[in-house]
């Protein structure tokens, strides 16, 4: 069973929220919609579900046009950011509710509810009402209710955003297992790149109502088609510097010239923009073959396992992440360095022309 959006657009109050999106999702896959708020993730999900009608374009299921068919006739389940459960029903009844609406026989309902509860680790709480549960348990109930329906398309709209950090971690670790067990098409919306990386599957990178790139998550991460994709898919934010290549060397904006080694070697002469993630920026390590930039520390953030060093260099602000504890003082001068084999190069149209070779 596949779901297709064919050149759909959507406008709200005269403002286009979705601009010409086409995509196809196959059975048994997990697709992550990654993008900042208001990039169109929720709008896409609502179009996939049938809650909204596109202004133009079609929605197809298994090749059949279902544009305009009400969501109640489609096989869809949705989980929201706010834990939405029926407050007066017990957990058991909550999970059973879609099956009761479908009029399934009692034994089947019981069997499927128990299975969903086991998958989401809700067995000890079956007789409680949602208000007697913690946030994480309420959201598990909502997910169980979405899964038990056996819908072909399950949509999750930032389902973990309202949970505590650690709970989010735990639930996120369990989700891939739950998704695989179900076999439906899963679509998961999030603003955090790390969630996309941890969930795997495919990623659709969104920005201002468009899908910028759609592919396997590691591939989109390692080969962003445009600089915008790299920016959306970076946390901490992507560092950027302009360069110009001529006569076998590269000149960095703000000063500094270096031989055009590594990935620079294969480029034609001209102006480019270099993007590098925080872990690609090295600090004071004296390694060979690096392009070095004298910089000043503006602030260091230490988490124990990592240190985020915010650097200021010639009117640019960069951030580097280092393993372990490094207590650099603000105002301290140090050398930041780039490995010319470990950068992303984008041309004047912001398209990717060079990327590190994947391991």
């Amino acid at each position: 069973m596949s779901v297709t959006l064919d050149h759909v657009t959507r406008t709200v109050d005269g403002i286009p929220t979705i601009r010409d999106v086409s995509l196809t999702l196959e059975r048994g896959t997990l697709s992550v919609l990654l993008g900042p708020t208001l990039s169109g993730k929720t709008s896409i999900m609502r179009l996939l579900a049938g809650l909204d009608k596109p202004a133009s374009g079609r929605v197809l299921v298994e090749g059949k046009d279902v544009t305009g068919i009400d969501v109640r006739q489609r096989s869809v389940a949705m989980v929201y950011q706010q834990f939405i459960n029926y407050p007066s029903l017990t957990v058991y009844e909550n999970i059973a509710s879609p099956l009761r609406v479908q009029g399934r026989p009692k034994e089947e309902i019981d069997r499927r509810v128990q299975e969903a509860a086991r998958l989401l680790k809700l067995e000890p709480f079956m007789n409680r009402t949602p208000l007697q549960l913690s946030g994480g348990q309420q959201q598990r109930t909502a997910i169980a209710r979405a899964l038990v329906k056996g819908a072909d398309l399950v949509l999750l709209d930032e389902p973990l955003a309202n949970l505590d950090y650690k709970l989010r971690e735990e639930l996120r670790a369990e989700l891939p297992r739950i998704f695989e067990a179900s076999g439906a098409i899963f679509v998961y919306a999030t603003t955090e790149p790390s969630e996309a990386l941890l969930l795997g599957g495919d990623t659709l990178c969104m920005w201002e109502g468009e899908v910028l790139q759609h592919g396997e998550t590691p591939k989109v991460y390692r080969h962003p088609d445009t600089m915008r994709v790299a920016q959306v898919f970076s946390d901490p934010p992507l560092n950027i510097v302009g360069i110009e290549k001529r006569n076998g060397s590269v000149v960095y904006a703000g000063g500094g010239e270096a031989p055009a080694t590594g990935l620079y070697a294969g480029l034609a002469d001209g102006a480019y923009r270099v993007g590098f993630r925080a872990h690609q920026l090295e600090v004071a390590n004296g390694a060979a073959g690096r392009h070095v930039f004298p910089a000043t520390v503006s602030v260091t953030e230490i988490t124990g396992s990592e240190s985020f060093v915010h650097l200021h260099r010639e009117s640019q602000n960069w951030v580097a992440v280092l393993h372990g504890v490094h207590e650099y003082e603000p105002g301290e001068r140090l050398d930041a360095a780039l490995d010319p084999d470990n950068i992303f190069v984008f041309d004047a149209a912001n398209r990717l022309v060079a990327a590190p070779k994947s391991s």
Binding site: V12, D13, L51, G68, D70
Partner: protein, 300 residues
């Protein structure tokens, strides 16, 4: 928002549509018909076209003069009661407790005047204001005021206004209370931290957040007071003379008193039109004031 379309819903509306057609639209057409004829109702009709309307809107004629005077009285009445009921309602809402059993008790007490049938309200005040057996009338006269709403224009107005305030302030208070309850505690805490005085808290937090609710309250009260009929009619009958003859009372006098159905029909249509226009103005102002501008500016 364009939701997916479900045609079956129209069938559910059909019965209501038929009932409304019978009870409202057909009689309305009858009134429109009457307004363009000269008749006393005994099935004799003489075409008058827009004659009644012209007469109605010309203050120099008898009909026009009476109409204009009653409209002005209505406007004055609405202005006065709004000026009293809105601030008073806000004050009551601010003074109400927010938690505990006292909340329910207050809500019940406030709701009581709203539940009394309107002609009973009129009757209560009619008796209440009588100088001989009414508590208000008796006390006022004993205090030296020569209070008699039957004979004195000012006293009649006073009585009708006080009655309306007593009857309807609760509505404003309840609406404002609902608006106040929706303000998160964090706002009050922040104001406390900022050292804001009680008045500053009111001006900066409570009043802006109550805006929507206040607009609804003002709209409702204006419409109701502009259409007012039962209460003043029971108390004063439009008198003394015609000092409290509001448009609705004038209309009844013409229709049922003089049996001038043509004039009355024309008057009721114009009356209806005025109210519709006022409603539309308020509605436009309300929805525009409440609409959030979608484009927000980022600062970082």
């Amino acid at each position: 928002m364009e939701k997916t379309v479900n045609q079956k819903a129209w069938f559910l509306v059909l019965p209501v549509f038929l009932i409304v057609a019978f009870s409202a639209i057909l009689p309305l057409m009858t009134v429109v018909n009457y307004s363009m004829q000269d008749t006393f109702g005994n099935n004799q009709f003489f075409w008058n076209g827009v004659g009644w309307f012209k007469e109605l809107l010309d203050p120099s004629t008898d009909l026009g003069g009476r109409f204009l005077a009653s409209v002005l009285r209505n406007l004055l009445f609405s202005a006065i009661i709004l000026a009293i009921e809105v601030p008073l309602g806000i004050v009551v809402a601010l003074s109400m407790p927010r938690q505990g059993w006292q909340v329910a008790a207050c809500l019940v007490i406030l709701a009581l005047p709203l539940l009394i049938p309107w002609n009973v309200v009129g009757t209560i005040w009619q008796i209440f204001g009588r100088p001989d057996i009414g508590l208000l009338g008796y006390v006022l006269n004993k205090m030296g005021f020569n209070y008699n709403y039957v004979a004195n224009d000012l006293d009649a107005w006073f009585t009708v206004i006080v009655m309306d305030v007593w009857h309807w302030t609760s509505l404003v208070a309840l609406l404002c209370y609902a608006g106040l309850k929706s303000i998160p505690d964090a706002y009050y805490q922040a104001a406390q931290i900022d050292g804001a005085s009680r008045w500053a808290v009111f001006k900066a937090i409570q009043l802006p957040k109550m805006n929507r609710v206040l607009l609804i309250a003002v709209l409702l009260r204006f419409m109701d007071s502009f259409m007012i009929y039962t209460e003043p009619f029971v108390v004063t009958g439009g008198g003394p003379g015609n000092s409290t003859t509001f448009v609705s009372i004038e209309l009844v006098k013409i229709a049922l008193g003089q049996f001038d159905l043509g004039k009355a029909a024309a008057l009721s249509l114009v009356y209806n039109l005025i109210i519709l226009i006022v409603c539309w103005i308020f509605y436009t102002v309300m929805t525009n004031a409440g609409a959030d501008r979608p484009a927000k500016e980022s600062v970082v």
